[in-house]
Symmetry: C2
Subunit: 150 residues, 2 copies
């Protein structure tokens, strides 16, 4: 798949990924390493938590979202490099969920401080198999401008 430059992006474009199925073993393994709270680790105990059942760490959802973005048709030249943005988890990820992402271009502009790059603001929505959003992330990315040799 060919990569995209700043000049290829326009507000309203939407990009898509394939799917990643999350199982209980993945949820527990991630939680053991990074977020060992009982509602991410123990299916029975999690029933008596605010999640009412085992739920993936939000950081696991975020990391899987990154993986899905890299497998999508959103392919900025130079890679997906951002300074951050607003991250929200409207709904928990459960064992058996199959996630995919939709990436919408919200804004594009040239950069005064980086003449060979531009700034692209996107909204990455991570959805489960019912089409319900489990995460939104709205980062600002640096994207290379097309140069004479590209």
């Amino acid at each position: 798949m060919t990569v995209q430059f700043l000049e290829d992006y326009a507000v309203g474009q939407i990009y898509h990924s394939g799917r990643h199925r999350v199982d209980k073993a993945q949820i527990v393994a991630f939680a053991k390493e990074f977020d060992p709270q009982f509602y991410h680790l123990d299916e029975d105990a999690a029933k008596n938590s605010p999640f009412k059942g085992l739920a993936a760490s939000g950081w696991h959802t975020a990391a899987l979202t990154m993986k899905l973005c890299l497998s999508s048709d959103f392919r900025p030249a130079g890679g997906i490099i951002g300074v951050g943005g607003e991250l929200l988890w409207p709904r928990a990820v459960r064992p058996g969920d199959a996630l995919h992402v939709e990436i919408e271009v919200l804004e594009t502009r040239t950069s005064r401080s980086r003449p060979r790059q531009g700034v692209v603001k996107i909204r990455i929505t991570t959805l489960n198999q019912q089409g319900d959003p489990v995460q939104t992330f709205t980062p600002t990315l640096f994207v290379d401008r097309r140069s004479p040799e590209n």
Copy 2:
């Protein structure tokens, strides 16, 4: 360590974690699973990237920040559960960095929709061994109110 309830939090309080040292193997293992871009995977190739050397995925920094928060003296009753917030990466994490977090209470209030809980807004700053911030995250958390039996 005893847990904290909504009534125990006040604006301006600061909590601290221990340290976690990040090495090259951890950076590469995380990137292989979740963020396989060359500047997170290959030390030599990364020299010719915007990072000018191997850098941890921002999502690795975020996941390690969660782990550090859970080892800190910030211990809300019911766990650290949030809906999200603003996430920024001002600086890359490098092999050999030793990270810790500082958590500042920015706001506390009761919740109209959840009478047994309150809302606590915090800023989690992740710092390297030079004291330079590598990440800030400003989430809104739900925290239990003290009840007669606590």
